[in-house]
């Protein structure tokens, strides 16, 4: 480097810069992080997995839609979308949240990318929120891809006019669920400084842990599992107002908009009473979920998770040291 390349006259330092407000910084960081996510290998892998899930659903429906076990599900648009979108969207959401949130904060420590950001005049909260929104947007992109695959199948079998209005609220619920799941994965990620721990813990919890906990609470303890986030996810399919009676196999059209969950299948205790298979908690554990959340109840659970995990996650990151 030659001596002539550097300025020799004193000049006021940083005279042109004016650090933007935190909100502006969140937007700028979100944009940069979102670009980073979109061009990352994990985004491509996740899209591949989601496309694979969509392909499997498409092939299974195409090959077996006239078989007894699928007939009820493809008998009406409501049953179709309720089953295939409502059933699989929560899995795609969990997968996205684990992929983008599992190591979002822990990775900043392990990969030392956090040291780059921490040298800037930016609050820890801004980094956390910016990364969260970017992960949310990336997850929404993945969810939209899955939505389009299911929609294409639905349009093929029922036509474009048969799209039920319930798809709107269901999509909204799936976004709220994504918001909650992602904030929970961010919380777990903020507790660790090693990517693998955050990634594995969130994957195990969301893919196995919460479902198991839900079964234990409702089936063994015989208690409504309102405290388990995966319980709320059944509202994504529940809003289509269809459920298959475990006793008769009949599709029941009922939407429970309320704040209270229903024990048994939609239709209430009367429907359950007519089912000889529904006995004690042990039988229920084998026959699947016995509580169905009301839509409002599910929203409250999701929002509750979001608020609590966001506050705890932010506090945790505020106290985290880049040692």
């Amino acid at each position: 480097m030659s001596e002539t390349e550097v300025e020799t006259k004193p000049e006021p330092a940083g005279s042109h810069s004016h650090v933007p407000g935190s909100f502006q910084q969140i937007l700028k960081l979100t944009r940069a992080q979102f670009q980073e996510y979109l061009s990352s290998r994990r985004f491509v892998i996740l899209l591949g997995i989601v496309a694979m899930i969509g392909l499997i659903i498409t092939v299974v429906i195409g090959a077996f839609h006239d078989r007894a076990f699928l007939q009820a599900l493809v008998s009406s648009p409501l049953a179709f979308y309720g089953s295939f979108w409502g059933g699989a969207a929560s899995f795609v959401i969990v997968l996205s949240a684990v992929f983008f949130g599992g190591d979002a904060i822990a990775g900043e420590f392990q990969n030392k990318t956090g040291y780059f950001l921490m040298g800037l005049p930016i609050r820890r909260t801004t980094i956390y929120v910016g990364k969260y929104i970017a992960a949310l947007l990336a997850s929404i992109c993945v969810l939209i891809v899955f939505f389009l695959i299911i929609l294409a199948n639905g349009v093929y079998y029922f036509g474009g006019d048969a799209l039920p209005w319930q798809f709107g609220p269901s999509l909204l619920l799936s976004i709220i669920y994504l918001v909650a799941v992602l904030s929970t994965t961010f919380l777990f990620s903020s507790l660790f400084k090693t990517s693998a721990y955050g990634f594995v813990l969130t994957a195990v919890l969301f893919i196995i842990g919460f479902s198991l906990l839900q079964d234990v609470v409702q089936s063994i303890l015989d208690y409504q599992p309102w405290m388990v986030i995966s319980y709320a996810s059944s509202a994504i399919g529940g809003v289509f107002g269809t459920a298959t009676d475990p006793c008769t196999g009949a599709v029941i059209n009922t939407i429970n908009w309320g704040l209270n969950g229903i024990y048994g299948i939609p239709g209430g205790p009367a429907a359950r009473a007519g089912c000889p298979a529904t006995g004690g908690p042990r039988e229920a554990l084998l026959s699947g979920p016995t509580w169905t959340p009301g839509i409002a109840e599910a929203v409250v659970i999701m929002v509750g998770y979001f608020v609590i995990t966001s506050i705890v996650g932010l506090l945790s990151f505020e106290r985290e040291e880049f040692a």
Binding site: A13, G14, L29, L120, P121
Partner: protein, 315 residues
Amino acid sequence: MTGPSIECVQLTKNFGTFTALSRLDLKLEGAKCVGFLGPNGAGKTTALKMLTDMIFPSSGECFINGINVREERKKALAEAGVLIESPEIYPSLTPRQALEMVCDLRGVPPEHRRDRIEEVLSEVKMQDWVDKRFGKFSKGMKQRINIAAALVHDPGVVILDEPATGLDPRGMAEVRDIVRGLKRRNRLIFMSSHILQEVTDVCDEVALIDKGKLLFYDTLSNVTSKFADGAPTIDVGLSRPLGDEKVLKQVEGLTGVTSCVLLEPKRLRLKFKGGPTAQEQLLASLVELKIGVITLSEPESALEEIYLKQISKGD
């Protein structure tokens, strides 16, 4: 408007029962370069991380330009350029994108952004890599971009933690040039380093810590005169080999000179009596001799000698 400043007041950091830094009091003011020396684990990086709010003090406070870093992180770091622990940059970004993000978050106006980015990339000799992704960069290349990121907003205070880490000899020399350039522009540079030659070359003052405690903080010349066997030492670089014994005798005969050794044909080491005034007179006399004086520097070995002496005292 006061000049740039960095201040640590009774700064202490404990990790469990281990005290990494103990009651560090240090005040740096004005445009200069201060070298922060100490062996591995002495507490240098711990102090710099507290100065930049990456870790939190167990007790004590630190300030940048008089602003409490812990209480007003954003304001305090707004005028500081920081490079701590050779950070990684997101692998899918290019240097241009990374520096644009930094400019964005620091509020460098869009009309100045392009020029500043090109300027700093040229300073760190990375202009040819501006649109390549970081994923393919070597450690040294990443470090150059980290330095660029620390300087892109033209900060008044620059905090560098071993900036030459991962750089080849040419890169190290370039870092020294960058630091000299910052000094000429009236910046305050606080730089930790293991490389004593680097500190001797570019620093005006030096702070030495060991086992979490500050051993001394003074100007380089005061340090050498205080701690090195009482006689200040300077190395004189010449443009041509020193002719004969007669010239050497002339140098030895200059006022204040106590010894003169020809280290290499073009390099002399002088020991002399007195403080900065004596040194000033001596340098003027040397130039008057017309022996081709081109450089005057504190010898690395003097600092090294002091460094080792002071560190071993604590063992």
